[in-house]
Amino acid sequence: MSFLDVTDLDITYTVGAGSLKAVDGVSFSLRKGESMGIVGESGCGKTTIAKGLMQLLPKNGAITRGSITLNGRELVGLSKEAVRRLRLKEIAMISQSAMNALNPVYTIGDQLVEGIMAHTSFGNRGAYKRAVEVFEMVGLEEKRMRSFPHQMSGGMKQRAVIAMALSLNPSLIIADEPTTALDVVVQDRILHRIIKIQKEINSSMIFITHDISVVSEICETIVVMYGGKVMEMSPTDTFFRRPFHPYSLGLKNAFPLITEITDELISIPGTPPNLLLELKGCRFNERCPFAQQKCAVELPLFYEPEPGHKVACHFPERVEEFRERSSHRDTWEVVRERLIREYMEKGAVEYA
């Protein structure tokens, strides 16, 4: 058993038009001190997983199946108060544009101290000392404790929030696009800070992003999600050398290598599936250039080409052919034309 085990997790949102499975049968596990990156396009369920782990789902969302165990303790079905105690101390989350979560009328220091005091038995002085420590960890000077949020830049505010998240040495850090709102230089600096601290306090980390390059740099494991399902899961270096899933191949095309200068990047045509509809087959079949009849009706099971590397595709044996073909623009152009044709036909039927 690992430190964090997520098994067959389903998270369902109830919306006006019915219910929607934003996360569908996701399983993964995380060792102590391991960092894992979850990548995927918008709406594929990355943030929903993070919120599910923190039990912060909105009112219309619920974990409908599966289990989450942290250190052998089941988190699904825990009472509100029990979860509240876990947060910040055991699990801390750095959310996207978390800097907006600072109250403009209190100093940063006050807000940090308040958070620390709410979760520990520290007195005012002890909490302040701890706050200064984490402030230094994220590279902020002590005098910034007395600043108000509006006196600091976006990067500083984000770092202050990161300091807040790390203030109690959480054993699991969930970083949900922690640097998306910042420019690349600041982003890089903050990322390295987070990683350094994570190593220092030996906590596990789940890093959620749509930026594959970030994951390649900082994570040991990568999970590729699409339409609420895991498509491929692998150690990061294996993934970048030998991706299996056609979606991963497509994603790889969309990120340029500095050594291979091409005139234009190849993108994956189409849009993610509508999760409100009942989907039987592989979630990616519509946009997959190698899709067969089988792909639309049958859900692919995980195939393990090597230990720790899982791929949800019906044709793992044809991977060499896929890899070769996916690097050509024409392969994907065929999909684009097919999608446009299908779209037009559908439109024609609707008009008739």
């Binding site: 979560a101 109250n103 007395r146 108000f148």
Partner: protein, 316 residues
Amino acid sequence: MGQMITRIREFMRSGLNPKQGGGSSIRRNSQSFFAVFITSLKSDKLALIGVVLLIFFIFVGIFAEQIAPHGPRDRHYTEDRQIRRLEPPSWEHPFGTTDVGRDIYSQVVLGTRTALIVGFLAALLVTFVGSVVGIISGYFGGVVDTVLMRIVDFFYAIPFIPFVIVLAAVLKPSLWNVILAVSMLSWRTVARIVRSQVLSIAKRPYIKAAKVAGAGHVRIMFKYILPNVIPLVLLEMAFMVNWAITAEASIAFLGFGDPRVTSWGQILHINFVSGYSRAAWWWTIPPGLAIVLLLVSIFFFARSLEAVVDPRLRKR
């Protein structure tokens, strides 16, 4: 509560102290409430006049008994035991005398205190009730909001003067009842304005974060939301002072005020009833002018406060 006030004070002060903000580079956009107010006083001469006048009135109000040379009801006689009836201004009686020989100057000076007491007490009460109702309404929303806002609608429908006449008939006319009447009919405005602001603040991420962290409703409302609406509440309070003073003057002028307490409205009331309001200009003008000057000074003061709350009104 005491801790919160110190926090607010810190917040207001932070813009003035460059050391606290950490270097002069961030001083410019860290202009806080008080700093902006001082700056706008420097550029806005009318606001400066307003503040000076207001300080003058408050000074007169506090030391009214020492400044006023006579009691408000003392009758003054000439050396040959004749009542000094309707005497125009002189050294002895700077604003002249009334038809029964009372010193108008002393009455106006003593009336200042009444106007300020009614103005500030009523405004305090109004802002307190109004902001509590507004914050609760905006924070909880839903049924609570609907019910409270319908109550506010109900109070909006009550006309002021008839309400005061009925209240004076039911209760005894006294200064406290005037304050009560003014307060009962003006908290509604504050409640609505504060609610609209709280509606937006209650949905901000830091309030959600506080909820998730397990903070109770009362803590969220008064520790996290209230400091965010304090500038608005202060501004609204300044306007309410004005409104309360006008209301008290009108009530007293109509004769529903406290007969034992001298006020500007009461001076005008007696002046009007005595039938000399046209003949004795020195009797009509001083209380009238005092009302106008006090209202104008508070208005200019409030206007410069408004510039602090709403950056769009600031002069560049």
